[in-house]
């Protein structure tokens, strides 16, 4: 019975949610999200710019007391892991101060693992090898899921670029051909006019 309860504890602990959300950051501003995090939790922020202008963003992570843990300038994507030192509201910001016109769309996810009660109940000798195996499988499944969601967003970005390139090739070429014909016709008409004028004089 004790064993079952312990198993229940450990299994319900490792169920954590990895949501890959996208937010829009308007030009000349900073968008922040807050999350309440326990101490001694491993926090990982993964972010990538989905669309907009130069595809760069200024990320910033702050602790509850205001101290900045991570700050970068004009990054397209990045990953940062840190161990939380205190309980409280952690701030994750993305700044678009470098752009005055275009807004940026940033996809990010915040992964939390561990947590301070993990050390209280990580008594592995109480678990059978089967339960140990299941626990390991769960961890690995979680990392597969996290990679998959990251790749999903990357694929989305690449698809946008590809489709944009494809339509650009078509339309700019039409424009080019049209301009070529128009310019040569204009040249002929202009030369004709010069000689017709000379004739009249």
């Amino acid at each position: 019975m004790k064993l079952l309860v312990f198993s229940l504890i450990l299994f319900s602990f490792f169920v954590s949610n990895i949501n890959s959300i996208t937010i829009t950051v308007p030009p000349n501003s900073k968008e922040c999200v807050f999350e309440k995090i326990d101490k001694r939790t491993s926090v990982t922020l993964l972010y990538q710019v989905v669309s907009g202008g130069g595809m760069d963003i200024n990320p910033e992570i702050s602790e509850p007391d205001g101290r900045v843990v991570y700050r970068r300038d004009r990054e397209q994507e990045g990953k940062f892991t840190f161990l939380s030192r205190s309980v409280g509201m952690y701030k994750f910001c993305f700044g678009n101060e470098m752009s005055h016109v275009t807004s940026k769309q940033v996809n990010f996810n915040i992964q939390l693992s561990g947590g301070h009660s993990n050390s209280e109940i990580a008594k592995k000798e109480h678990l059978t090898p089967l339960e140990n195996g299941v626990l390991e499988l769960q961890e690995q499944l979680r990392s597969i899921l996290s990679e998959q969601r990251y790749l999903k967003v990357r694929e989305h970005i690449h698809r946008n670029t590809t489709e944009s390139t494809n339509s650009r090739v078509l339309w700019w070429n039409f424009l080019q051909t049209f301009l070529l014909i128009a310019i040569s016709a204009t040249q002929i008409i202009y030369v004709r006019r010069i000689f017709e004028r000379r004739r009249r004089i």
Partner: protein, 205 residues
């Protein structure tokens, strides 16, 4: 007794931590994520103290149509089933005329959602099928792996579509350049012939 306390603590930690952000007056702030079709999406929202504004909570489907609209006066929950794969937007909107407060008033909102396997209630399934805690977790992993498999197959399809687009771009670049060169030569030759005829006519040549 100590065990029960531990159980309580850890079950709390196992819950999803909610995202919080600020919303001002007369704006709409959205979070979106790409969700596969035929997924159950559940979640909840809440206004944090101090409550100064009452934004509306709106969910849009990939076609930007409204799926659900909810008032945030009370902490609320939502659930829906997706009928297509695409970007689903979860928005808080203060665009509706609010009693005007001093400009710069912001409201902290808390929001959380899950979809797919994470949204399913495995306690319920475990009770129905009489599964122990170990079996329940294995069952959950089984469903998760199936979901990953489906996602990967879908991703393969999209990668193929992208490959087709790329190959089309590649051949377009070549053919359109050849067309441009041909047009250049043709207009050049036509110009020369036309001018020759023109000058002959005017007896200049």
């Amino acid at each position: 007794m100590k065990l029960k306390n531990l159980l309580f603590i850890v079950c709390l930690l196992g819950l999803v931590t909610a995202l919080q952000f600020d919303i001002g007056q007369r704006e709409e702030k959205c979070i979106y994520e790409e969700i596969e079709h035929d997924s159950l999406v559940t979640g909840d929202f809440e206004l944090m103290d101090p409550i100064l504004l009452h934004p509306e909570f709106i969910i849009y489907n990939p076609q930007k149509q409204v799926i659900q609209k909810k008032q945030t006066n009370q902490p609320g929950k939502f659930a829906f089933h997706t009928d297509q794969t695409g970007d689903y937007h979860f928005c808080f909107s203060t665009k509706k005329p609010q009693p005007s407060l001093q400009s710069g008033t912001i409201q902290r909102v808390s929001f959380n959602y899950k979809y797919g396997i994470a949204a399913r209630d495995y306690e319920d399934i475990a009770k129905k099928e009489h599964l122990g805690p170990l079996e329940r977790e294995i069952r959950k992993m089984q469903d998760q792996v199936l979901e990953i498999h489906t996602d990967i197959i879908y991703a393969k399809g999209r990668e193929e579509a992208m490959r087709n687009t790329n190959e089309s771009t590649n051949s377009r670049v070549m053919w359109f350049s050849i067309l441009s060169i041909l047009v250049l030569f043709t207009t050049g030759i036509l110009q020369v012939y036309y001018l020759k005829g023109f000058f002959k006519k005017r007896k200049i040549i």
